[in-house]
Symmetry: C2
Subunit: 383 residues, 2 copies
Amino acid sequence: MLDNLVKLTNLKRDIAEINLDPLQRGGILTPEARAALVEWGDGYSVCDFCAGMLDRIKTPPVEEFVHGMLPEFLGTDEVRITHGAREGKFAAMHALCDKGDWVVMDGNAHYTTVLAAERAGLNIEYVPSSGEPDYAISEEGYAEAIERAYEHKGNVSMAVLTYPDGNYGNLADAKAIADVCHDYGVPLLLNGAYSVGRMPLNARELAADIIVGSGHKSMAASGPVGVLGASEEYARTIFRLSSTKKNKEVELLGCTVRGAPLLTLMASFPAVLERIRHWPDEVEKANSFADGLEKLGLKQLGDRPHRHDLMFFMAENLYQISLGAKKGRYFLYRDLKERGISGIKPGLTRQFKLSTYGLSSEDLKKVLQAFQEIIDSYPAAIG
Amino acid sequence: MLDNLVKLTNLKRDIAEINLDPLQRGGILTPEARAALVEWGDGYSVCDFCAGMLDRIKTPPVEEFVHGMLPEFLGTDEVRITHGAREGKFAAMHALCDKGDWVVMDGNAHYTTVLAAERAGLNIEYVPSSGEPDYAISEEGYAEAIERAYEHKGNVSMAVLTYPDGNYGNLADAKAIADVCHDYGVPLLLNGAYSVGRMPLNARELAADIIVGSGHKSMAASGPVGVLGASEEYARTIFRLSSTKKNKEVELLGCTVRGAPLLTLMASFPAVLERIRHWPDEVEKANSFADGLEKLGLKQLGDRPHRHDLMFFMAENLYQISLGAKKGRYFLYRDLKERGISGIKPGLTRQFKLSTYGLSSEDLKKVLQAFQEIIDSYPAAIG
């Protein structure tokens, strides 16, 4: 194994011209972040002038970013840097919930929310969505889920809302859900992996107690890096100091992102603030693209009109094509790739998600054109 | 706060020509890693062709690296990528120990080992070092510490050895310590943050059950990234799959380093293997440098002759100078920086650590020369 190493030394990325992967659309670096990556690439470079706490480093200005800019941006009392949204969720659950407690989460929750709860030894009560075609999550659902957990004699110590969820891009009524949770004395954690850095969002206005965001998913940062914000009431426990090691926060193991990803998050931040101002344009682009695909016989599920760039489509016609096409269900991936388009999971045809975030209208026209060409090139399946 | 953002966009690192910081000497990127950082900088780029498990990605060849090369390199049955050594220690403790259990660790342990235990809700029984001047850790100490934990009616579920420790650079007899721990049925975790990637090391030969390493500290990688290796017996529990989410490992929250730092770890790996072959030269350089500083009146503590590049010095003469010098105890930092040298913590004079790793003999000669000049420039303190 250790005699064939040359393959590790010149790894090139093979990417299409237009990438529709929701996972990747919000994580493309700005030129400033790319420069920061090179400048701060060496291990522990961020620690050049550290006095013992990552979030208090003044050179580079981490302290101002973490304690000034980010709390204002997220609308929380306290913020810390994490390795990503999932690590933020685990930290909050591990700090605030006891093993055996119950956590309530939307049925559209990302798998990492489930893993975070499982890792923390928590039981899960789901808030089911309304199912096809809307997959909506309601505040009543949260009340019912909390009641069900109580029936198990469970202590419900947290609720999570995925905002938006990563399948349908649905934005539930977070404020109404927070209010319901608070009626039961349960704090609400907002999973903003697909919203923080893409769209206007303020935890305080939504009455969310805790919020996580993802640098590599939605803040134009090189991962893994994320943010974890909390109101004073919960921050006190989540960011508690060690009983023996001065100035070290236990839940963060002292420091989290001790390297370049943090610097890319900082370097991209001004551009991220700017792009959030253009969110209405992004939503309009997404809806216009969805209209285009629907004219080709696909159907967009989830919120309609849609309020996010992440969208889920049913494509019965593409599925029919796959039944007869060469390479079967991989035809769509191949045919799109031949046209310079990637990001729809290989093998999916009948239903898939994609994102239009940050793509130009011209690019999206090319994508629609490609779908049109592909559908037209399999005449048997059209009828 | 959000109206003064320009300071985030062009952050330059201010580094000296010669950096002695032990934290940073092993984390300087190779040219190959620097290229990988740029190529794979965008968020989630490593996930271009992922089918659901980070460690099974074939393009780039993560699977071969994680399941082939790294187990052979570390001498363990299984390896996974982590965010760093501390996150690896916590994952192992959280998976293998129950809240309230006891963990035994060397008195020289890194603060993050203590935090990992505290976060996992464990009690700590220390193996005291022999104190000044050797600060040695013995296998008998481990037996006694385990016995002491038993006296507390404690269940001892893990022992940790820092190899070498981060203060003195001491390499204890890991094999003898592992044997003692095994006599008590306690698994040994080796913290190789300062050894994996710097020096020859094989967990199996040392009878260590679990080993953690740090990419940014000692494997020429851009952090945060690390490795966690374990024998089959413990890997089964640490890397257990979720009960509900197919193919997702709970303790890793599915995936860990979903970004460029992993690619830098891979890209540097051939060069890391090569540099490990030159470890005897590094040890010789370190000892020769220590001799040089001792001739100037300093004293090297810890293992003598030393067996690692990380070294701890007592400098009574520099302390005496600091009592009268302009800027007081910051004089050494300033005077070294004026000579293009950094890495000794600002404000330290009487005792400090440094590393000679990867520095040329010429550079080390310059450092000795600088110490000589500085000492000579404060004549009053010499006598």
